[in-house]
């Protein structure tokens, strides 16, 4: 979409050439006009104060950009620079001076980059946890938090109880074998109240385990079992932590990067299926 790169973003902290997330000129008006009806239909009516701050960001993706940039001047919290080790790496092309967007629209001059996300929620979290909240950003209009694994459970608890993220959409992991902290654990949370989605990420070492979120969201039960099944990450306090998709005595964790696609537990296949190989 070539015209997106032209979208001016005067309050953006980083130099030009940056793509504002889905900055379409026409749609925010349409989306905002939808907002009151959507809010009215929401199962739990929003409190007026919260509705005022959250409503513009909550309607649709296009408006999020406006809301984020609009809040920037008033919240003067300095965001930490994005460290390359946090998984959400800035595009390598970032150092390059911004190419004139109109000149060559076909190969995109620069990919979209994460932008800092400043809101009341992140300000509260930052006040409370300081550097424990490693990063708060938006990428293509999607909000995410990177937190220290030590305070992960506290953050999840707080997100559920205080910030009303009452629906845990998904829990998953990503394996980065070359990193010291090999795994990213990603919690996708949604708030029916704010109609908002936030990803909470943390990094853990292979030997580490994290506390289970089953007590916060019962849906975490199977989701965590699947993460354990596929990555071998242990969740402390999980009521029934065992494999869910693979057979219980299967060896290896298939979604790790050191598990090639053709690998299988030959011994299990021979004993249980009575064939030489599954291939």
């Amino acid at each position: 979409m070539p015209d997106e790169t032209k979208g001016p973003n005067p309050v953006s902290p980083s130099p030009g050439g940056e793509t504002p997330p889905a900055a379409k000129p026409v749609e925010p008006a349409a989306a905002q006009s939808d907002t009151p009806t959507i809010k009215a239909e929401a199962p739990v009516a929003a409190k007026p104060s919260e509705a005022a701050t959250v409503a513009p960001a909550s309607a649709a993706k296009p408006t999020e950009a406006a809301a984020v940039s609009g809040e920037k001047p008033e919240t003067a919290v300095a965001t930490k620079p994005v460290s390359p080790a946090t998984g959400e790496k800035p595009a390598p092309a970032a150092a390059k001076p911004a190419a004139p967007a109109a000149a060559k629209p076909a190969p995109k001059p620069e990919g979209p980059k994460p932008e800092p996300w400043n809101s009341e929620l992140t300000a509260r979290l930052r006040r409370r946890y300081g550097s424990g909240l490693q990063e708060a950003g938006t990428y293509l209009g999607q909000k995410y938090l990177v937190v220290d694994s030590a305070i992960l459970y506290e953050i999840l608890l707080l997100m559920h109880a205080d910030e009303r993220f009452d629906y845990c959409v998904d829990i998953t992991a990503v394996h980065y074998p070359e990193r010291e902290a090999q795994f990213d654990i990603v919690y996708v949370l949604y708030s029916f109240h704010h109609n908002e989605r936030v990803r909470v990420k943390t990094q853990i070492k292979e030997s580490d385990s994290v506390r289970t979120a089953v007590e916060i969201w019962p849906t975490a039960n199977w989701l965590e079992r699947e993460v354990y099944d596929m990555f071998g990450i242990k969740f402390d306090g999980h009521p029934d932590l065992k494999r869910i998709l693979l057979p219980e005595d299967w060896k290896g964790y298939p979604l790790r990067k050191d598990y090639p696609i053709l690998q299988q537990d030959k011994e299990w296949v021979q004993i249980n299926l009575g064939i030489e190989s599954g291939q």
Partner: protein, 397 residues
Amino acid sequence: MKEFETDYRHAKPGQGGPGVVDYLDLDTKDQTFLDSTELVLNMGPQHPSTHGVLRVILKLDGEKVLGTECIIGYLHRGVEKIGENRTYAMFNPYVDRMDYVAAVSNGLGYCEAVEKLLNVEAPPRAQYIRVILTELCRIASHQVWLGTHALDIGAITPLFYCFRDREEVLRIFEKYCGARLTTHAFRIGGCLYETYDGFEQDCLKYCDFFLPKLDEYEELLTTNRIWVERTKGVGILMPEDCIALGVTGPVLRASGVKWDLRKQQPYESYKDFDFEIPTGLNGDTYDRYIVRIQEMRQAVRIIRQAVGGLPSGPIMAKVPKVIKPAVGEVYVSIEAPKGELGYFIVSDSSTQPYRVRVRPPSFVNLQALDKMVRGMLVADVVAVIGTLDIVLGEVDR
């Protein structure tokens, strides 16, 4: 849709109103049917009412269910691992094989996610075509659900009616892209195929054909005494339980939560259309039936609007030949016929995704089975599995 006369949620066992099945309280010991010991019964994976290869271990007291455990994974094919080893475009047909009765929706979700990662948007015409096909697919998926669900409960006729009428949808798919079930209808950035001559007429003709058929299904079931007694008050799920268990889709809406991603976070061109979100009152199997029936009516409404307003123009956005999204990750979800279908894709700027995670609605919804059948009868387990509308290809991936 008739309002319900009785709010049986507060009814005590033995005092239920007409059409209300008494539910049994687990904690009260004196309500067991027999003075029997616990029985562990294995149901599936070859049981016809499990809609595939679901195995449920039931702990029973007489005929009363004390607890269940689901054993899944018989259809596990490692879709997420395959995704990491294929290019973005190559992985597209694989997602059709997850929820194979709603393949079009799967493809839409995946294309949406990769488009988000590339920061492109499909052109308006492509979006309208996508909406038309996805809503047709929603009807087809609900027809499969209704047919098999009714069959499980003992009504054989709806199965034949539903599959007969679904064939007309599949015919449109076949004429559009050559495949009936695993369609691979969409491509990253839009649609590959322009509509065929007479596509609009076919869709409108189908809408006109389908609504009377839907009335026919309703005539068979909605006020049918056996159907009502088998479904009312069975498998109740309260809204707060739904949210805690992450249940989405018609199951959530039947519990009274008016939440549909097509309205809450509109994707594609859904904001252009006027449609309602049907909700239930009681969160039982009967309400879920009503909600899905109403959803089919709304789908017809959307199709008519989309066909009427089908814009002209290109059907493919400018997408590079070799798809190499910038480093980053996105989570994009759509309202599939069964609930929230999400794709979490991590890109390392190579031609293959670094990680593809599918958030399948069936997998998460199936987790609610235990909550729904505790204290019910064995026969209700069959009804509840049917009403959850799971597809094992998606549960196991």
